[in-house]
Symmetry: C2
């Protein structure tokens, strides 16, 4: 049985990888505390904890770019979350679909 | 131009999401310091910094389950890395292909 008690909140936080369910594209990484994790379970949309603003935020609350939760996974160590979502609009505040829009090239 | 100077190592570390290039499956999350990041650029395989053992590790060095780097991205804030890899064998030390093999179900 998998449950919230299996998740280790390190200093109160766990990193959550957000992946678009339909395309497999990794959209962003943000941090959840236990309260935001529970809000996600309750509401079916993603909630995070902002370390800089020290408050909960519901992704897309202002922009309308909500993330509807499809599946939630946690890793072997219980210290990282993976959330598959249906993304409305763009995930990134820059307007890009994913926050990972810049590539670093290896010299070969 | 995207380069290592754009990456913010928070307390010396940056979380790196490892994704299988071929399938899009998210395999694991681990942490890199600047030295391990440079080793990845040099060698073309993933290197991390173990916080518990306080040393660098080359993923798959012992098991043979190496990760060959295909593409490296960083996010809008410069504080998370996404690495697309060709995974040899299983990514997880449990023998599972991905570390995210356990699902938490929402009650609907």
């Amino acid at each position: 049985m998998c449950k919230i008690e299996d998740i280790k909140f390190n200093e109160g936080l766990v990193p959550a990888i957000i992946q678009e369910a339909e395309t497999g594209e990794v959209l962003m990484l943000a941090y959840m505390n236990e309260e935001s994790f529970k809000k996600m379970l309750e509401t079916g949309t993603t909630w995070f904890y902002s370390r800089s603003r020290q408050k909960l935020w519901n992704k897309g609350e202002t922009s309308g770019h909500l993330q509807y939760v499809q599946n939630i996974y946690y890793d072997c160590d219980g210290d990282t979350i993976l959330v598959k979502v249906k993304q409305v609009g763009a995930a990134c505040h820059t307007g890009e679909h994913t926050c990972f829009y810049r590539e670093i090239k290896r010299e070969k």
